[in-house]
């Protein structure tokens, strides 16, 4: 048991280091950009009308002329203390902007993550049960097609069908236009989240389905399943007693590792539906040269991705005793 805690500790430290290096990499990328943050954010005209002292003050605020390493550590230090800087586009602390947007996005991503995980798992098992059957070919074809479809285009197609053509769902945003914040009902929120969540779920299913299917085929060809059949076990009992546990393990790891993809998908989907979440904020920040916000979102998303990987690793240890004893899985 002691080794297991060492194992978890090692992975946690590794994750924190990785997050640190991600932020350093992101900081380097925005630092080498030829886009001058002062000009991009204050504007050429405003800068012309400002006094020399004001410009100097702003330059000091932006750290113009300071060595990059120094700037990075002062930014990272503040970040660690919870001060992520002030978003230039929203004129609010980055932490508050991210907080609001994250709640909106988490809804979407959590639903999509759960739905795609469960549906994909079941579809994968059904398909892998009998390789080459009608169900298998159907599921496989669907997965391959969806894996090749860009999320934003799928979003456009769903919009065309449900919002424009059938007119049953709203076109975008997370709340109705022209309604006070207090008057927005839960039903409204749900109605506005249906299409984005559906798009994300549909695209998320492909990966887990294909993976579960492969595993399932492998298991159905194994000796222990052959023996179970010889004993006269029914298909259902084979699935329940022999296959499920063996398939669930890798599927779970995959699902936790797929957080990065759901995040990426949510950027595209939120942009298409003008859904005010973290992904849309990232695009706005990138286009509008809002460096503090862009960096903040990068670090937060990296935390989620690595956190997912960490959970996958820990779960692996919980379920599979071999890994608990045998140290790190590479």
């Amino acid at each position: 048991m002691k080794e297991y805690f060492v194992f978890i500790g090692k992975h946690t430290i590794r994750m924190l280091l990785l997050v640190f290096f991600v932020s350093a990499a992101a900081f380097t990328l925005v630092s080498v950009s030829p886009i001058d943050p002062l000009q991009a954010n204050v504007g050429q005209a405003a800068m012309g009308s400002m006094s020399q002292e004001q410009i100097a003050k702003l330059q000091a605020y932006w750290g113009v002329g300071e060595p990059p390493l120094h700037r990075f550590f002062s930014w990272a230090g503040d970040f660690f203390r919870g001060d992520m800087g002030v978003s230039l586009l929203y004129r609010q602390p980055v932490s508050r902007v991210i907080g609001v947007k994250l709640v909106n996005s988490l809804w979407l991503m959590a639903i999509a993550w759960l739905l795609s995980g469960m549906i994909g798992f079941v579809l994968g098992i059904l398909a892998g049960l009998k390789e080459g059957s009608f169900v298998d070919r159907l599921v496989k074809g669907y997965s391959l097609l969806i894996a090749s479809t860009p999320a934003f285009w799928l979003a456009l197609v769903l919009l065309m069908i449900f919002a424009v053509w059938l007119k049953v769902l709203p076109i975008g945003l997370s709340v109705p236009i022209g309604v006070e914040t207090g008057a927005v009902t839960v039903m409204d929120r749900i109605r506005h989240a249906i299409l984005p969540a559906a798009t994300l779920s549909i695209t998320g299913i492909a990966n887990i389905t294909l993976h579960t299917r492969e595993k399932m085929i492998e298991i159905m060809e194994s000796d222990y399943v052959l023996f179970a059949r010889a004993r006269g076990e029914s298909t259902w009992s084979i699935v329940k007693n022999h296959a499920l546990r063996n398939v669930a393990l890798p599927a779970m790891t995959l699902q936790f590792a797929s957080i990065s993809e759901i995040f990426g998908g949510s950027v595209l989907v939120e942009q298409t539906f003008s859904y005010p979440g973290l992904g849309q904020a990232a695009v706005t920040a990138g286009l509008g040269s809002d460096v503090p916000l862009l960096l903040g979102i990068t670090v937060i998303s990296a935390l989620f991705v690595f956190g997912g990987n960490l959970i996958a690793n820990i779960l692996y240890g919980v379920i599979d005793p071999r890994i608990r004893r045998g140290g790190a899985r590479t």
Partner: protein, 274 residues
């Protein structure tokens, strides 16, 4: 009638894929000028007749626009696939042969790159290059090597234990010569499959990042831009602006995915008997 076997199927698919690329690229170059032509006498036509993909609000022929856009995506995709897979080959081999420190370093970099959601990474790189065309190309080219590098690293690690490699070492061949003469030929199939499968990914990401508004100027016909423009006109019922360009993109990606997968299956010794 006998069923077509996997080998013939793969050859046919690969042939079709390459031919498709070639035709689109040539057509894209031929119609590059025409794609920008506006003509208000024929605006907002729905598909059919002379304009099989319809025309947009400026009277531009959507079929030609889609072709040119796709041909540009394809060129960026080919470049990205080549750069990324060569990078993956080099880093994968280095990680597996140059000792523990190099291995740890390269694995670390792979984890790092994979830790940032891909689209976000592309946004960051695009920003680093000043949000231009260059940023998109560099971003797409430099970010697709991670998973292939992992595969190649694993393959080389296994290879190192193989008898013939050990024998070559005992015979006193230099590391470099072993890598070149004995390992590379063995890695080539994996590399080729990786190259082909990277291509559709790169195209999808290029379309995504331009869709978000990074990189290309708005008058440029690119699949991403065409689709993001079409959003404004969806509510007016001009479905063809979004439907056909997207379908063609999906078709391209599926074609390469299927071709790559079937090649992988063909080269995989575990499934040769099928």
């Amino acid at each position: 009638m006998r069923r077509i076997n996997g080998r013939m199927m793969t050859a046919a698919l690969l042939g079709a894929a390459v031919l498709f690329l070639f035709v689109i690229t040539v057509a894209g170059h031929m119609y590059a000028e025409e794609a920008l032509v506006t003509d208000f006498s024929r605006k907002d036509l729905s598909p059919g007749g002379a304009y099989i993909f319809g025309t947009d609000w400026l009277g531009r022929d959507m079929f030609i626009r889609t072709l040119t856009g796709l041909s540009m995506s394809i060129q960026i995709g080919i470049l990205a696939a080549c750069v990324s897979s060569v990078l993956a080959l080099i880093l994968g081999v280095l990680a597996a042969t140059m000792g523990k420190t190099a291995d740890a370093l390269i694995t670390w970099v792979i984890d790092l790159v994979m830790g940032i959601p891909h689209i976000l990474l592309l946004i960051l790189i695009s920003y680093a290059f000043g949000k231009g065309f260059k940023g998109v190309v560099v971003g797409v080219a430099l970010t697709h090597w991670t998973s292939l590098a992992r595969v190649i690293r694993g393959e080389v690690l296994q290879l190192k234990e193989a008898l013939y490699i050990r024998a070559a070492q005992k015979l006193g061949m230099s590391q470099l010569k072993i890598a070149w003469k004995h390992m590379l030929p063995h890695l080539f199939p994996q590399f080729l499959v990786g190259l082909i499968l990277t291509f559709p990914h790169a195209i999808l990401h290029e379309a995504s990042i331009t869709f978000l508004g990074f990189g290309l100027p708005p008058e440029q016909p690119a699949i991403g831009i065409i689709l993001s423009e079409s959003m404004k006109y969806l509510a007016m019922g001009r479905w063809w602006l979004a439907l056909f360009p997207g379908l063609l993109l999906v078709f391209t990606v599926v074609l390469f995915d299927v071709a790559g997968e079937s090649l992988r299956k063909l080269l995989d010794p575990g499934s040769t008997h099928k």
